[in-house]
Subunit: 256 residues, 2 copies
């Protein structure tokens, strides 16, 4: 069931199923009262990543605070999306954007990967998780994707569950056609890997191409920025193999 995108949506940290009123934090008050300028008794939707989506109403108390009265559940909790998104960190602003897009596109695991040409030696997990929550709020996504600690690409691939296919974008694979490559894959759990702006090193590319659970796809004749390639690759994977295929619902979640 699609989200009702006309109502504001808020992530809250507490329990929803007990119907206890939710006291707004300072940030939440600011967002609802000052940014969205919601009136008393205005409706909104709440989610906490585990109890589905609930309708609620704002009860203002004074100028700066309020409580949310919980109403009915409007959508049940869906299964976690089973798509993993692996990416080399970018500079902060672009990376905020990139993880938002990955959540919008249905990734369930967000895995930063350190590669030879990666620009950033570390990530700000709190900031990325805030961006992931915001994308879920804005796009009616009721599951909270999991941000995993950054790993170097070698160890990540060494410990990889070979049942999960990795699709990566290979700038050198320009004579092929991505849709037929993807449509020939055996259905199953998948991951999309996006390299850094400078691309993978020759060693890394050789390593990837030698792995039986890795598939390289081209993304056209032009150079793409990493965040463009991310959305493009996710779109192709979701449309050919994933949950963009209309009534196909992939409820299996693999524990990896």
């Amino acid at each position: 069931m699609r989200a009702d995108y006309r109502l504001p949506r808020l992530f809250i940290d507490g329990d929803l199923s007990e119907a206890k009123p939710v006291v707004l934090t300072k940030d939440q008050s600011n967002y609802l009262l000052n940014v969205l300028r919601m009136d008393d008794s205005a409706p909104l939707l709440l989610f906490n990543g585990r109890d589905g989506e609930w309708r609620a109403a704002l009860r203002r108390s004074g100028k700066k605070g309020g409580v949310l009265e919980i109403g009915e559940q409007v959508r049940p909790q869906p299964p976690m999306p089973d798509l993993h998104y692996l990416f080399a960190p970018l500079k902060v602003g672009r990376m905020d954007y990139m993880v938002q897009k990955a959540v919008e596109m249905g990734a369930g695991i967000i895995q930063p990967v350190q590669t030879q040409h990666t620009q950033m030696p570390r990530i700000n997990a709190g900031r990325l998780e805030a961006n992931m929550r915001e994308a879920a709020e804005q796009c009616g996504i009721l599951t909270l994707a999991e941000l995993r600690p950054m790993q170097k690409i070698g160890p990540l691939l060494e410990g990889w569950n070979p049942a999960r296919r990795i699709v990566f974008c290979d700038e050198d694979a320009t004579d092929d056609d991505p849709v037929p490559i993807l449509s020939r894959l055996t259905p199953g759990p998948m991951a999309v890997l996006i390299g850094p702006e400078g691309g993978f090193s020759d060693d890394e590319r050789r390593m990837l191409r030698a792995l039986p659970f890795v598939t390289a796809i081209p993304l056209g004749p032009r150079i793409l920025r990493a965040d463009t390639a991310a959305v493009a690759a996710l779109a192709l994977v979701q449309a050919v193999c994933g949950d963009w295929r209309g009534n196909v619902h992939d409820d299996r979640v693999t524990d990896d």
Copy 2:
């Protein structure tokens, strides 16, 4: 032939084929000398949107200026991409990003469209064109996409050349599968239409669905931000119908 993305690339406004040295403007000097910190005789690539791509070398004169000595042509001028990109304007920062992505994804015509729920009543053409040039510089694109004046959606569709198919993303078409829909289309010139963040109005959606040259595609079960939908839709169209199909080269350019 793919761009050499290891060298800096600069758009210049003048002629390239005469091999006359190019005197750098103040902005260009700042970019090459201060931002990129290029040394004397460092190589770069130049393009002007009509003469292909040429290798050049920087000759610094003093701390603040320089000339570019033109060397050999390294890539011929390719044909203009024939894909049109139609979009409802977004708030300025997101729109900068969106037009960059459209250029990276191979659009040749960038057409802003005023719709009922569009947030922005006008666009800053100079700013958008600067973003389009920057995307071309960074991604090795040698053609300069054309930015057309904004039009209201009604008149735009009334004057539309019916030989060019418009693919638009319909939030309500969630039971279909985008790849088969696109693969059944007769090959020919295409356009991708992205609505505003609030979506098309019911009247607009009815009007679009009634036109014989318009095809609606779903983009999965989640809500997408307009700029995410843009890249996703362009990726699907380019991969199924356009120039991402490996060795298929579509050199026809339709005059519309």
